[in-house]
């Protein structure tokens, strides 16, 4: 169907992106073709630049262009708290709540023997070292609510058992603002199981 090898190659590359199928890839490619040259150049420039400049924060593992990320350097944040997440994108989710003012630790994955992901493959050792430095008082595990995320949580909790930090797991529950009627049964059931007393 393609009369242009370049266009075909572009579509093939776009299709490798997560969530992009044939149709979306075609739409993006045709959009870029019609768009002003600057738009395509800007996209190309930033694609290359993120690969060149973005690296992992030496402290938390978040994406940054410096040695240490802005979140870790922010003196207003509470460094006695560490929230452990699987991916940098999870930081943006937690930050968007405005609820949390502590530090982060990005594992870059979750334990999965099936896929060969071992404790050394993700940044668990770095977390243990951070805790060993003594400033941290509480570790909040915010790994994904699936078997791999839970296994990772249990593993970390076990490693930190001997230290005197408090270890907590974020609660799973009913979405706020929504009505009970619209919460799916599973979420509701889990919320019941994890219920707490009213102070």
């Amino acid at each position: 169907m393609f009369q242009s090898p370049s266009l075909e190659a572009l579509v093939q590359e776009l299709k490798k992106l997560p969530g992009v199928g044939n149709k979306s890839a075609l739409r993006m490619a045709f959009h870029l073709l019609r768009a002003p040259r600057e738009e395509a150049e800007a996209l190309a420039k930033w694609l290359v630049r993120v690969k060149e400049r973005v690296r992992l924060c030496v402290v938390c593992g978040n994406y940054t262009e410096e040695e240490t990320c802005a979140l870790c350097l922010d003196a207003r944040r509470d460094e006695s708290l560490i929230c452990v997440v699987e991916q940098p994108s999870d930081i943006y989710l937690v930050e968007s709540t405005g609820e949390y003012r502590g530090h982060y630790h990005v594992l870059h994955g979750a334990l999965s023997p099936l896929e060969g992901v071992r404790p050394e493959s993700i940044r668990i050792g770095e977390l243990v070292e951070r805790v060993a430095r003594g400033v941290v008082k509480e570790v909040i595990l915010a790994t994904n609510p699936n078997v791999e995320g839970d296994a990772t949580g249990f593993y970390i909790a076990d490693l930190l058992k001997e230290t005197d930090v408090i270890i907590s797991r974020i609660a799973r529950g009913v979405p706020v603002g929504g009505e009970l009627e619209f919460a799916d049964q599973l979420t509701l059931a889990r919320a019941f199981r994890g219920r707490r007393g009213i102070e």
Partner: protein
Amino acid sequence: MILDSLRLLDFRNFRELEIEPGGRCAAIWGPNGRGKTNLLEAIFLLGTTRSHRTRKDPELIRFGGDVYHVAGSYRRSNGGRMTLSVAYEKGGRKKGRVDGKEVSKMSSLVGRCGVVLVSPEDVEITKGEPERRRQFLDLTLCSIDPIYLRSLQELGRILRQRSSLLRDTWEPDRARMLDPWDRQLAAAGWAITEARARAMEELAPLVEEAYSALGGGEQLVIGYRPGIGREPVSEEDVLQKIVAVRDEDLRLRRTTIGPHRDDLDLELDGRSIRAYGSRGQHRTAVLALKLAAVRLMAQRLGEEPILLLDDVFTELDASRAERLATRLDGAGQVFATGTGRAELDRFFPGVEHFKVEEEGRVVRGG
């Protein structure tokens, strides 16, 4: 639940089909090989999101087609209406809709319309490996308990992760590595065992009663044999047992304890039906199990499920078939297939007829 209309597009041998059953009993008949079972398969698919014959959705697409589409419109006993549909495109993901609205997870379709299917292969439930009996329980429980379905999916994932560790002989500290998986195995294992045990308590008297009502002279007793053993009374107990057999598991490289090792004991007058049952006894026992499942689903869902009888009457002797026909009160609607009109007429007076003709055409009244 009553299925008022069923629409198929490029499903199995049907290019385009719409039938409107609507009554309490529908007879689907015609010579073999014309797709009678495919119609039951479609109704089963709407209730459970999958076929009873294959896990491969591409096989369900009509030869030469690219997408199959199955849609049903239902009437509840209180008069409420609901539509369900399932569509699958080659190379894509299966999509489900409830009342026209797409669901994010296929699992949220399960149990909207309870279905119980009896097919000739079901004799394996009483005759075959323990896996067949677990499948019977799972199919019944998944429809009435969404948490059960989720626990079952989690258990599968946990077991695969765990066995991957058990086979990894390079790992120096396997006990520590196993720990997070064992804790989850204990949690999921306990949840599933409890749900199965509770269901079996309700099922056992229903099965016994159905068996004698079907004219089985003997007493059919059904019992649950949990793979975690009978002693555990909590998740912690289960975890202790799992940890205790760790070395054994590491040596054998498989998980020797858990609900994936459950079985059901079925005894006729104290003798194992699996070992000693006759052909007729197996058939009656399977029907008793299915009728009990119908009752259990009706109780738990608050809505009578649809019963699908695939080629059941040709296999039963006349007196048992008659008794079966009088025992269908727990089902909201019954679909029965057979090769001849007469045999179905005999058991269901006033039944609606659908004759399956060549090339996937279906004629009402026949």
